[in-house]
């Protein structure tokens, strides 16, 4: 059987339904072949959708290059930010991307610790998504600086002037939170890849490929000692990542919660931001997994059970987010604070951006309630559309928080409006391009599903079947 030839596979790539996390008839070999086949097939056998998708994403990357060049040449004034709305798309996008990253860490770390076996076929994929999302997110804090070439001043590096960052600023906490998060995520992801890289090395058809994977596999031989050490390290990393799921977005929320601005100054922000992050992260995993699953015929590895589980997580975190919105509004009313109350009146009715709030409610609260229905959860197109809607909704949530609050603060004379410019949009779309480009390259170049963990799944299935027969 040639791995690149789907037709020759004697295992049908049929979705086994909502109960199974793997299609029937899989053994170690078929799992390995199917996953590595995605990577090792000849260049021209790449599904055409991938080429089209990559081409679009690459155009967007070039758009980003143009936008960033113009930004560096002229200054942040090319964006729509102004006084009083000194933060705009850049911060909205930053929070949005960071949020999207969360699903990966949650799936790989927390679900690993909770022994949720359905995570196996999507964790690699989600982790990669985390990395790329954090990469996109990480660009914005630098791009949005008035003097981006001095971004390193936010780092505590020794200097002759004995000048250090100002530790009371949440932006400094951000620097640490996000950089730690990025570092741990990349180590976790790479550690997870090592056994599969060795498999790829062993299966590689030509010398160059073998060499590349060989170097990356760091001499993995699959000996028991390797595996024993590996399991321990992996679990430790999972333990290390777990608090990060909570901490990163909590810290990001401090950017707002610590400030005095009505609409920002809210104690519920940390948990509500974390829930929102997971919400949007799962939405993004679904957004990406559904087409890839179809293009590469992976329906038997990413099964309806996966889709359904993720839908349920989305529904659950969505409800937490809904609670957050309700509490924000309730506290604004209950506090009796004039500014706080007005911030909500403005958000919902008065300001020029009231419609963003209601679209956000529609996207994040109303529409996802459809997921209560099993029929909706079982419908691929419905889940895909809802996931897209949640992505939009979560972006709008950040827009409402960042922009709408800034337009109306304390002194009415300084109230203003914000209109994004073409450069705001270009930068945003550009980072989506970067994200998709990296995603496409990842899917084509590395095993997007964890081979060795899928083998474990096969093994467990066989064992339980065996036990059942006994």
């Amino acid at each position: 059987m040639k791995p690149e030839d789907q037709e020759s596979t004697n295992v049908a790539t049929l979705d086994p339904g909502p109960d199974k996390i793997i299609g029937p008839g899989h053994d170690y070999g078929t799992v390995t072949d199917e996953i590595s086949g995605v990577v090792l097939r000849p260049f021209l056998k790449t599904p055409p959708q991938m080429f089209i998708g990559f081409a679009i994403a690459f155009i967007l990357v070039n758009l980003l290059m143009v936008a960033v060049t113009w930004l560096f040449v002229r200054g942040v004034g090319v964006w729509g930010i102004t006084m009083p709305v000194a933060w705009g798309f850049a911060i909205v996008n930053f929070v949005w991307w960071i949020g999207i990253g969360h699903a990966g860490t949650l799936i790989s770390a927390i679900l690993l610790l909770l022994k949720q076996d359905w995570r196996t076929s999507i964790n690699r994929f989600a982790e990669a998504m985390t990395l790329f999302a954090v990469a996109c997110a990480g660009m914005f804090p630098v791009l949005h600086l008035g003097r981006p070439w001095l971004a390193y001043w936010l780092l505590p590096y020794p200097n002759t002037m004995w000048l250090w960052p100002q530790p009371r600023s949440p932006l400094i906490w951000d620097v640490f939170a996000v950089s730690t998060y990025a570092t741990v995520s990349i180590i976790f992801w790479f550690t997870g890849l090592i056994p599969d890289l060795a498999t790829m090395r062993d299966k590689a058809g030509n010398a160059t490929t073998r060499k590349i994977f060989g170097v990356l596999a760091l001499g993995w031989r699959g000996s028991a000692k390797h595996w024993a050490r590996y399991q321990k390290a992996y679990l430790l990393l999972a333990g290390l990542s777990t608090p990060l799921v909570i901490s990163v977005h909590s810290v990001v929320s401090f950017d707002f919660a610590v400030a005095i601005l009505p609409g920002w100054h809210t104690t519920i922000f940390p948990p509500y931001f974390v829930a929102g992050a997971i919400y949007s992260g799962f939405a993004m995993v679904l957004t990406l997994a559904i087409p890839v699953r179809r293009w590469y015929h992976l329906e038997d590895l990413i099964t309806m059970r996966h889709i359904e589980c993720m839908s349920k997580v989305m529904l659950g975190t969505g409800l937490i987010v809904a609670y957050g919105y309700a509490m924000e509004a309730f506290m604004a009313w209950y506090s009796g604070g004039q500014f706080e109350r007005y911030a909500f009146v403005n958000r919902m009715w008065e300001g020029g951006y009231w419609w963003t709030y209601w679209i956000l409610i529609l996207c994040n609260i109303a529409i996802p309630q459809l997921l209560w229905s099993r029929r909706v959860r079982m419908s691929i197109p419905a889940v895909f559309v809802i996931a897209l809607i949640v992505n939009v909704g979560m972006w709008l949530e950040r827009f409402v928080i960042v922009v709408t609050s800034l337009t109306r603060d304390f002194v009415p004379s300084s109230w203003g409006t914000y209109y994004p410019t073409i450069w705001d949009w270009s930068t945003y779309l550009g980072t989506i391009g970067v994200f998709l480009c990296l995603m496409f390259l990842f899917i084509r170049g590395l095993p997007a599903i964890s081979i060795f963990e899928m083998r474990e799944v096969v093994h467990h299935n066989a064992e339980s079947e065996h036990a059942h027969r006994d």
């Binding site: 004034g77 006084m83 100002q166 600023s169």
Partner: protein, 968 residues
């Protein structure tokens, strides 16, 4: 060594005889040897070297005027690089002088201040004067003499002028005409008279586009003579303004009037026994004065005359038929005989002035609150008639040579005169001006004029006091003064303006001690004993009242609140100064009331075509609450075509509609809506306080009953609301108090701050985005009805909070607190996250979204304050409490080993304020003015409930309404 060289040498010169030394020198300093061998030229070389080194250090590359000028505060011997010197001079606005002290850094004027000794300034200036230093350095100023648009020379011009004069001289000067603005300069007037004496048939025409035409006419109609009226607001308990904007920049003496008026208000706020003044204003176009009024009677500008007449009628014979307003007004006036003022507006017809003079006489105000003197201007005439005569003569071909000393009649003459068309018939046309403007374009000759900071001259203030205009810098572009032109006409082309002015005053003060007199006059900025003495005018001749009621849509012409009559249009500071009434920048608009806008179906941003007397102009509409119904106000100063890069092609020209008959307003205008969506750039979008209370006000009575009204319980935050001990502030504790009772909202502080702190101009597009840079903004709030709201002005600089929210969130410690309580911005350290601005509840921080500071235009560098950094792109900036001034004073006091005295540190906004509403000082000194003000019960902090502990606090506004009218 050669034989005849000395064995022993005492100096290099002797040794230099040797071949070796020659060779050595030749080798070491090629081409220098002759200098070494020639003792005289060597010495000269060394002298030059030494001098140029000294000059390089001392004066950089600026040019000093060659005549001696006298510093105000410090001696010339103390000329120390880095230390500014102050010189007294004066600036003329439509001919009327205001005394100034100008700060000069290394021979480069950088900042305008008022002259405290000058009666019309008392240390204050207005926005226009503040901005005039920018005009000095304007790269668009005309730089060369031109003939038919080509570069020429002063000498060629003199030849041409002399020829023209001599040709006219054959006919006693017939055909030779002079056109000037209003002239108060005694020297210039004497020169012109001299010339006219030699050429009796030559004529001197005068026209000031926004001059005091009806004031003059009113005085002549009332008294038969053009008496000058001076108001004493310090003595007035009741003031009735008949459309007189005596607090605004268009009325001569306004700075003094603001001071006198606000002094009284402040005194009343501080001392319950001192009665507050009460101001009634009848007006159609909202003015700064209208904003201060206790009672504003909103009426069309053309109805003010009838209102004045009915007031006079009511005062003479009270009648129950009068309106309650007029009755209450008359009662109040009658109750304050001798302590009341009725002021007629400069832009009201002469009849209103006659009525005002009559009422003042009737109430016995004359000699008490209203003082008359001889006219300030030289040879007062009806300027509109004078210009009309000139145009008629041009039409009939009688004018062969026209010499214009300043002015821009092609742009600003009344449209019905067709000035340009007739001008073209004049054989020789010459124009002296700061800019090669619309008029210069149609003249054979144009001569660049010296800016007042480059020129010697003199001028009279609103009360006749004469002061010398001394230059601070030699003309940057070789500009000439009118004195030099007049000298050329009287065959003294080589005589300098300095000599002319000095010689004139020698004739006025022929005593032995003239040198001393001259020194003192220059030093003080005021010539002692020139203030006009009070005159007792005859009884007022009754006015011939026009009974015809005006109908139809009214059009009102006014100088622009920021750029005035248009002569200052090319000043970017003024263009970007938010106009007090509507916070609009970079434009003029057609102001209309909300009711009329609804009636005619137009809204803000609609472009309309106004037709008046057969002429048409397109302009955008601005709905202005408080404007009279059935009335349009248009402002001059825009629609320039040859003003310069800043002002060309912005706005529309209201002069194109103005006629000699309707010089300030007329009726019968009509308009049609053409398009909509004209983009305005304003700095404030929300017009009301939105049920908040940044601006707190009460009546004087309410204040006396409830002194704590400005500090309601729920705004209090106890000092214990923190876990940490408060910082001690042991040395100094800087603070500022802004008295809203005194503040009139004139925006002078904004421009003073801009000048002091090198604040860049961002342009209309950036202002429209909300990116204006003014560190000190003046908020304007409306309260009450849309048609006739109460207007409140509130200057907002940085609050320098003790618990500064901005400092907390800056990731790189670029904004930090000083040990003296200043919230400091470290530009070098700022990376531009803008988080500080987001967290500032007062939104006083300004960000350089682009590279706003002009790093390319060399000439503008001169206007910059060397004590303040010029900010770069991507950096946040904000009010620093003028930290450079604080440090200068601290260094001085340390050098002299003495404590800082209260009042030694004056911020730029405080110094400029004509109302003295802003006071800065040390809060650690319980006897400092600012400490005393902050102990007043009406003192409150903006958003104090946030526990930001602002150091800038406000004294609540107090009003003194008439209980009679309040009830109605």
């Amino acid at each position: 060594m050669t034989k005849d060289s000395p064995q022993y040498w005492r100096s290099l010169e002797e040794l230099a005889q040797t071949e070796e030394f020659r060779a050595f020198v030749e080798d070491e300093f090629p081409n220098r040897t002759p200098d070494w061998n020639d003792p005289t030229s060597r010495r000269r070389f060394l002298t030059l070297m030494g001098a140029s080194i000294a000059l390089a250090g001392a004066s950089a590359c600026t040019v000093q005027p060659k005549e001696m000028i006298v510093p105000y505060v410090r001696q010339p011997e103390e000329f120390i690089p880095g230390r500014p010197l102050f010189y007294a001079t004066s600036v003329s606005t439509a001919g009327i002088a205001t005394g100034l002290l100008v700060e000069s850094h290394e021979g480069r004027p950088t900042k305008i201040e008022g002259n405290p000794l000058h009666p019309s300034s008392l240390g204050a200036t207005d926005a226009t004067m503040q901005a005039s230093v920018l005009t000095l350095y304007d790269p668009d100023r005309s730089q060369t003499v031109t003939r038919n648009g080509n570069i020429s020379g002063w000498g060629s011009f003199i030849t041409a002028l002399t020829e023209a004069r001599d040709a006219a001289g054959l006919k006693q000067g017939a055909g030779f005409r002079l056109l000037t603005g209003t002239v108060t300069s005694p020297t210039l007037a004497a020169q012109i008279q001299d010339f006219l004496a030699g050429f009796p048939a030559a004529k001197w025409h005068r026209y000031e586009p926004c001059g005091r035409h009806s004031v003059r006419a009113g005085a002549v109609a009332a008294f038969g003579q053009p008496f000058n009226t001076i108001y004493r607001f310090d003595r007035a308990a009741v003031i009735v303004s008949l459309d007189a904007d005596f607090l605004g920049p268009s009325m001569p003496g306004n700075l003094r009037y603001v001071r006198d008026y606000s002094d009284r208000r402040r005194a009343a706020a501080e001392n319950a026994t001192s009665p507050p003044p009460r101001l009634y204003v009848a007006e159609g176009t909202p003015s700064i004065t209208g904003g201060m009024a206790e009672h504003k009677f909103r009426m069309r500008t053309s109805e003010v005359e009838a209102f004045a007449a009915s007031l006079a009628q009511e005062l003479q014979s009270p009648s129950s038929e009068s309106s309650p307003d007029v009755r209450a007004l008359a009662q109040d006036l009658s109750a304050h005989r001798g302590a009341a003022i009725v002021v007629a507006g400069d832009h009201q017809p002469s009849n209103v002035h006659v009525i005002a003079h009559a009422i003042n006489q009737m109430l016995g105000n004359t000699g008490k609150t209203v003082v008359y003197t001889d006219p300030v201007e030289a040879g007062p005439i009806d300027e509109v008639a004078s210009l009309t005569e000139l145009v008629n003569d041009m039409r009939s071909g009688e004018v062969e040579t026209l010499l214009m000393l300043g002015g821009n009649p092609v742009y600003d003459a009344p449209a019905d005169l067709n000035f340009l068309q007739e001008l073209k018939k004049v054989k020789t046309r010459a124009h002296l001006g700061l800019y090669s403007n619309e008029t210069a374009a149609w003249c054979h000759w144009h001569i660049p004029e010296a800016h007042y900071l480059e020129a010697w001259s003199d001028a009279r203030a609103y009360d006749g006091s004469a002061s010398i205009v001394q230059p601070l810098i030699a003309p940057l572009y070789g500009g000439k003064t009118p004195h030099e032109l007049m000298n050329a006409l009287t065959n003294q082309a080589d005589r300098s303006s300095h000599d002319t002015v000095r010689d004139f005053w020698r004739t006025q003060h022929p005593a032995q001690d003239f040198d001393e007199f001259w020194q003192i006059s220059l030093h003080d900025g005021l010539i002692a004993g020139t203030t006009f003495i009070e005159k007792i005018p005859p009884a007022v001749r009754p006015a011939a009242l026009s009974v015809a009621r005006v109908t139809g849509l009214e059009i009102v012409f006014r100088p622009d609140p920021s750029v005035g009559d248009g002569s200052l249009s090319n000043n970017a500071w003024l263009q970007e100064m938010p106009k007090p009434q509507n916070k609009m920048t970079w434009d003029n608009a057609v102001w209309i009331s909300p009711t009329s806008a609804q009636k005619y179906g137009v809204t803000t941003g609609d472009v309309i075509e106004i037709a008046f007397e057969g002429r048409k102009v397109d302009g955008p509409v601005w709905i202005l609450p408080g404007h009279a119904d059935e009335s349009l106000t248009v402002h001059f100063g825009y629609g320039r075509t040859r003003a310069g890069k800043v002002a060309n092609a912005i706005g529309f020209s209201a002069y194109a509609l103005r006629t000699t008959a309707a010089i300030w307003h007329g009726s019968g205008a009509a308009f049609t809506r053409k398009s909509s969506g004209y983009p305005f750039a304003t700095t404030q979008h929300t017009q009301t306080m939105e049920e908040r209370d940044p601006f707190r006000a009460a009546t004087f009575d309410e204040y006396h009953q409830n002194p704590e009204f400005a500090n309601p319980e729920d705004k209090h935050v106890s000092p214990e609301t923190t876990l940490f001990p408060m910082w001690g502030y042991e040395a100094h504790k800087w603070g500022m108090s802004i008295d809203l009772t005194a503040c009139i909202g004139c925006q002078a502080c904004t421009i003073a701050c801009q000048s002091e702190n090198n604040i860049p101009v961002v342009g209309k597009a950036e202002v429209a985005k909300g990116r204006h840079m003014n560190w000190l903004r003046v908020d304007r709030y409306y309260e009450g009805s849309l048609d006739d709201p109460q207007v409140s002005y509130q200057p907002v600089p940085c609050m320098h909070c003790e618990n500064a929210l901005c400092e907390l969130v800056c990731p790189v410690a670029a904004t930090v607190h000083s040990a003296e309580g200043l919230n400091e911005m470290v530009y070098n350290r700022c990376v531009g996250t803008r988080y500080c601005s987001n967290n500032c509840p007062y939104k006083v921080r300004r960000f350089n979204f682009f590279l706003y500071a002009d790093w390319d235009t060399q000439s503008l560098f001169g206007a910059r304050n060397p004590d303040v950094s010029v900010r770069s792109r991507g950096v946040m900036e904000k009010c620093s409490y003028c930290v450079q001034r604080i440090n200068t004073a601290k260094i001085e006091s340390e050098k002299q080993d003495r404590p800082l005295a209260d009042g030694e540190i004056v911020t730029a906004c405080q110094q400029v304020c004509p109302a003295q509403a802003i006071v800065f000082g040390d809060l650690n000194d319980p006897n400092s003015r600012v400490s005393k003000l902050k102990r007043q019960q009406r003192n409150y902090g903006l958003l104090e409930e946030l526990n930001s502990r602002p150091r800038t606090t406000y004294l609540a506004r107090l009003r003194n309404p008439n209980p009679e009218l309040e009830k109605g």
